[in-house]
Symmetry: C2
Subunit: 174 residues, 2 copies
Amino acid sequence: MSERRGLLFVYTGDGKGKTTAALGLVLRALGRGLRPRVFQFIKHERAAFGEHRALERLGVPIEGLGDGFSWRSRDLEKSAELARTGWQRAAEAIASGDWDLVVLDEVTYPLNFGWLDLDEVLEVLRTRPRNVHVVLTGRDAPAELVELADTVTEMRKVKHAYDAGVPAQKGIEH
Amino acid sequence: MSERRGLLFVYTGDGKGKTTAALGLVLRALGRGLRPRVFQFIKHERAAFGEHRALERLGVPIEGLGDGFSWRSRDLEKSAELARTGWQRAAEAIASGDWDLVVLDEVTYPLNFGWLDLDEVLEVLRTRPRNVHVVLTGRDAPAELVELADTVTEMRKVKHAYDAGVPAQKGIEH
């Protein structure tokens, strides 16, 4: 008996690999003819990191919903508003059933800042169409989200090149 | 001062996301015009999982070097031989400098089974051309490998859908 159902993934923790693991799932889904779509809650709407260029080439919609580094913003109300507007778009994409895999990258930050309502996010996830996989990434995933999820991995930092003074490498880390 | 150098990544631990994080790095590298190449030490040479189909479409070489589930094989000597032959190919690819990013997926298994010589693998990594990024994945990464690496993440399983009786979902988990 092979049950076909959308799974809820959470990649959390302080280690590298959360966003890239979500991108890997996108790649895998694409190879199976599924339709993935990516929302990034912190990256700027005009971001053009490696993943944007590659996904665009593959025809996967990827949208930056933030203003870069929101938590350093001087206008927090504007950042919060961007997050809420972005969440509405993501929520509609999830509820539509038009996408087999929806990535909510770095969504834990606006959740933990209180910019998004956790209960509302949980409700959209809980009531989503049965076929829809959703992946949420970011540090400090709220306990209720972990509870609701099917598969949760904590990416734990063992060591990081940056701590040894090596700057971020283009094409690899952004 | 922006130092440009190849990094050594290790994704280890018992959680989901090790292979997919490596695939995400491939996607990101590709978007920046780098040349990635993937070796999978357990997957069969004729494997056609989601990632194979997607990477082939992107022109990224991906090779299965194993015979499926090597550790269940009845012919362990053959599995060991496959791993050693595969490693030679991977070592040449790393040493050639022709590839900016080389993924050694699930390489910790043949290492821990004693099929590959750890010192030899460490030597190839240590003496690789300066521009080459390498990503190694698999559970129980040897301590010497963690020591040599620049960035190490332990993917820790918090929960997994499979434990709740949900079978693996095509396009997402394989």
